[in-house]
């Protein structure tokens, strides 16, 4: 369609500004507080999100993964305002996007604050790529009228599509359609880009181009939140959030024990006790019977051997997402060394021994990975501890 490109009167005085939230975290661009989403159908009520708390900081590149039906697209729809939570609060760019906000006010606000990319591109078939990229600028009436084609062309050049600017979407490849959709998402220079399976329909090469483009935007200070199935993409993001059955898995657990099944990760998330230790405070004493498996959330611990009448030896220092206690649990329950907080305070997650053993029995791959680390630690221990020869 050749457009005459006028803005309609109802677009001339848009309300882009929602009320600021006074207690929003300063660095956070997204805060979800206790978000619940229920759907009702003929079969009854179904809870898709079960009280999600999530904070994403400005400038982060975050992937969200989860099995089909886990609630990941619903989670994104809560952030974009495409769907509404049943209860809870969603704060995006310091604005509470649901409380007392009309659909049209949210729509205008979204146009300026969010870029959205979908698996199936959603380009308007009757408009050229250039016209598709100009759409958001027309919709929120941003940038001077004459400036819009120039800006759209710059964005198409950025994604490598300048030669195709005047083609209709159907005449370019699916990868190129997605690149145009990304250019469109960035049309109003939003601080936040939300992408739902952006490479789900593309070949490896096109996927690689798109993830490279996302990295470029992140370097420029944009925040990107992306739902994906593709492990080659999640490895390139700063954070990988896993959703399982409508609940978020603790990221310390998913990073520390990545081989676990999602349902086991979720189980550990619910069972884990958060503990904080002051600098140099003992967490586990040698020969003490251990009742927990520990993963470090924040800070550093020291694994120490106190030799008789001699100085202590620090066997190893363990940092974020590393674990301890596993060798002991696997070998009968007694600690083989002292473990204490490092020079700063340390936060750990403690998982009860029986639960740990039960889950390990069901997850041989995790057991194997943990066992390799155990072997390495025991080797270090034997080398350092004169008593170990007696065992």
């Amino acid at each position: 369609m050749k457009t005459k490109r006028r803005t309609s009167p109802r677009r001339t005085q848009p309300k882009h500004v929602l009320d600021k939230v006074s207690d929003a975290a300063p660095e956070a661009i997204i805060e979800m507080r206790g978000v619940v989403k229920k759907f009702s159908n003929a079969a009854g009520e179904f809870t898709v999100l079960k009280g999600v708390d999530l904070m994403i900081d400005r400038g982060e590149f975050v992937s969200i993964v989860g099995k089909s039906g886990s609630g990941k697209s619903t989670l994104l729809n809560m952030i974009t305002g495409i769907d509404h939570p049943t209860s809870g609060q969603v704060i995006v760019n310091h604005n509470d996007i649901y409380t007392g906000v009309s659909e049209s006010a949210r729509s205008k606000w979204r146009g300026k604050n969010l870029g959205i990319v979908f698996q199936f591109f959603q380009l308007l078939p009757m408009l050229t790529l250039l016209e598709n990229v100009m759409l958001p600028m027309d919709y929120v009436d941003l940038y001077d009228f004459d400036e819009r084609p120039k800006r759209a062309m710059e964005l198409l050049t950025l994604v490598g599509l300048e030669k195709f600017a005047n083609k209709l979407p159907i005449l370019v490849s699916t990868g190129q359609q997605q690149l145009a959709a990304i250019a469109r998402a960035m049309a109003c220079d939003p601080p936040l880009l939300i992408a739902d399976e952006p490479t789900g329909n593309l070949d490896t090469r096109s996927s690689d181009t798109i993830i490279g483009l996302f990295e470029h935007f992140v370097q420029q200070g944009k925040t990107i939140v992306m739902v994906t199935h593709d492990p080659s993409l999640t490895s390139r993001t700063h954070r990988n959030i896993i959703i399982s059955d409508g609940e978020l898995i603790d990221e310390t657990i998913s990073r520390g024990l990545p081989q676990l099944r999602h349902r086991h990760m979720l189980e550990f998330t619910k069972l884990a006790e958060h503990k904080i230790y002051q600098p140099q405070e003992t967490i586990v004493s040698r020969d003490e019977k251990l009742n927990h498996f520990y993963i470090i959330r924040k800070g550093e611990v020291e694994v120490v051997l106190q030799k008789q009448r001699s100085k202590e030896t620090i066997l190893s220092r363990l940092g974020m997402n590393e674990f301890f206690g596993e060798a002991e649990l696997l070998r009968g329950g007694k600690s083989i060394a002292n473990v204490r907080a490092g020079k700063t305070s340390v936060e750990v997650l403690a998982i009860p021994r029986d639960d740990y053993n039960r889950v390990m029995a069901e997850s041989p791959i995790t057991m194997e990975a943990v066992s390799k680390i155990v072997q390495k630690r025991l080797q270090e221990h034997r080398m350092a501890d004169p008593r170990s020869g007696r065992k």
């Binding site: 369609m1 005459k4 495409i82 199936f120 959603q122 308007l124 078939p125 009757m126 016209e131 005449l171």
Partner: protein
């Protein structure tokens, strides 16, 4: 009396690829009459989408001519320049694809008013009234203020059809419009198309790989390797139901 609305005359389309020239359409001759619901069936790669792209002028032909009679004019589509072609297409042809391509952040009614506002054919209030009328036509008016994510795939395709009708074109071209829908939902979409032909006098050209849909068209052609094979006039016409 049959009144021709689209005439495809000796149309060939050859793509140049690294592996050499590939003839996608070979000397096609076809007349589509006003008020027809024409189906073109064929396997993947037979040239179906290329044929549609020749009719609506989205792609260039290698040789031949496409004539379209609409609004009292007879237009040789491929003799228009790009700007003229885009304007002509916006007024004359609605397009419906397999993927609905609705803008997820706009409500259903906004998805339909958007092309109207862009084309500038209606005042804002008029475009909204017209959009609501179209939503009524495809029987989805009650969901007008919802976002696309909240309705089913079949309902989204209805909205895409309503959007294709936004500027009241005489002709609809549809490329596998039921390709991603289950058979019951596909049947409902066919009902919508049939009504547009019977009640609104629209002409529809649809391509599909699904041979089982043949009975739903008023006429059905088969495309094999870029050539039209045979012509079957469907006696059951628009009331024929797809056998599942």
């Amino acid at each position: 009396m049959s009144i021709p609305i689209v005439e495809i005359v000796n149309v060939s389309k050859t793509y140049s690829t690294a592996a050499g020239d590939f003839p996608a359409l070979k000397n096609i001759n076809l007349t589509v009459n006003k008020g027809e619901f024409l189906g073109v069936v064929g396997k993947s790669g037979a040239g179906k989408s290329t044929l549609l792209n020749m009719i609506n002028g989205v792609d260039e032909l290698t040789s031949g001519e496409v004539l379209v009679h609409s609004d009292g004019r007879r237009v040789s589509v491929h003799h228009l320049n790009e700007d003229e072609k885009a304007l002509w297409r916006g007024r004359t042809m609605g397009v419906v694809y397999q993927s609905f391509q609705l803008l997820p952040m706009l409500t259903l009614v906004e998805n339909i008013t958007l092309p109207m506002d862009l084309a500038g054919n209606f005042k804002p209030r008029e475009s909204r009234e017209k959009a609501m009328e179209l939503l009524r036509l495809v029987e989805i008016e009650e969901h007008a203020e919802k976002l696309p994510a909240l309705i089913s795939g079949g309902q989204q395709q209805r909205v895409a059809i309503a959007r294709a009708l936004a500027n009241d074109p005489d002709i609809l071209v549809a490329d596998e419009p039921t390709g991603s829908l289950d058979s019951v939902t596909a049947d409902h979409i066919f009902d919508v198309f049939s009504r547009l032909v019977a009640e609104r006098g629209k002409t529809i050209v649809m391509v599909t790989h699904d041979m089982g849909l043949k009975s739903r068209f008023t006429r059905c052609l088969t495309l094999v390797d870029g050539e039209l094979q045979n012509e079957v006039k469907m006696e059951t016409k628009t009331k024929g139901r797809r056998k599942s």
